[in-house]
Symmetry: C2
Subunit: 213 residues, 2 copies
């Protein structure tokens, strides 16, 4: 995939949003979409859409717009999500529970195949009561063994902040390739384990910046 390595960070982010819009369009049986339509659905402007797509060569037809299915396939390939990714969620409180039932994951080939907590018995009670039991909640002591057995490549951290780095270290030791951290404590990983810290304050900071400026 080295041919796409120079795509700017902001474009990578927008590609993901375009993909989401294309999936929605497809579910409404739309076959073709103009850059103007995609721009409108994704809250960007049409020249930006065309510019972003131009990084990957010409694959729209002038005056006709883009083939929805083709474009979707193309973006998935660029992002590396044209295959299944197996995920473990660690820390099944409110946030972890929300992720276990997040329906869009499956639509995009993200499969949660393991879930861990330090008090799984307690979790099983509240989660089955409220959201069913999408995946068995296991004790965190079994993390390494289960991650290997189930070929998990991505770990999601949804523990309280005090436990976040400990859990990250467990995931790294179990050889995951990427970590998405939802806890408000930033974690560190070695270079070979990719990391995204997702802070909700950052989402608000970003919104407020554009509300203010």
């Amino acid at each position: 995939m080295a041919k796409y390595a120079k795509i700017p960070e902001a474009t990578v982010r927008r590609l993901s949003n375009y993909l989401k819009c294309l999936i929605d369009l497809e579910s409404r049986s739309e076959k073709v979409a103009s850059s103007a339509l995609i721009a409108n659905l994704c809250n960007v402007n049409a020249p930006q859409v065309r510019k972003d797509f131009a990084y990957f060569g010409e694959f729209g037809i002038r005056g006709m717009g883009y083939n929805v299915k083709e474009l979707k396939r193309h973006i998935k390939e660029i992002l590396g999500i044209n295959r299944e990714w197996r995920i473990a969620v660690v820390g099944i409180g409110n946030m972890g529970s929300a992720l276990l039932v997040y329906k869009d994951f499956l639509k995009q080939n993200y499969k949660i195949v393991a879930a861990f907590d330090i008090v799984p018995e307690k979790v099983i009670g509240h989660i089955s009561e409220r959201v069913g039991k999408p995946v068995e909640i296991l004790h965190i002591d079994r993390l390494k063994e289960v991650i290997k057995a189930r070929n998990v490549e991505i770990g999601i951290i949804t523990t309280p902040p005090g436990a976040a780095q400990t859990v990250a270290d467990l995931l790294i030791d179990a050889n995951v390739k990427g970590i998405l951290n939802f806890s408000p404590a930033p974690v560190k990983t070695p270079d070979h384990v990719k990391l995204r810290n997702l802070f909700f304050t950052s989402a608000l900071d970003n919104l407020v910046y554009y509300m203010t400026n």
Copy 2:
């Protein structure tokens, strides 16, 4: 704040992460931070940190690093979060409950002053059992009245996707200035109401892109 209007989107995102690191440094009584330290804490490289800060003029001291308190104040001013922002959360399931107890919001002057659901009685039961009762959950019929009375400027949507646009329209009608949407359905707002759709699939797409490339 027009003087900052040309800051690239990716820089705005990083500023927010720098701020989070600076708050952590301050809580550990650190007074001065080099660009190398900030870079290390935020998972970027030091030249990037210096380049980002250069958008706002020189406020580091060569060879000395940045004054943590000053830099924090400066970034808050740039982002527009040097004052309190009042927030309402709509839809108190797992995700909404997680936000109601997200401690970092208060650290950064984000104050959740209202919470709504279509079945508040049910919510009050499970939320008080699990997380205490940080704010009273009200019926969504009271949204407009309460948002006005409590000077709410930002609405956060944590409903199921089918309800997201309806709730967005209610928030717009109640004159909020910004909406952060956590539901997996993209919502639309008029130009004067700023919007961020936060899709968890996008966070994974982004992680996978850098894992693959």
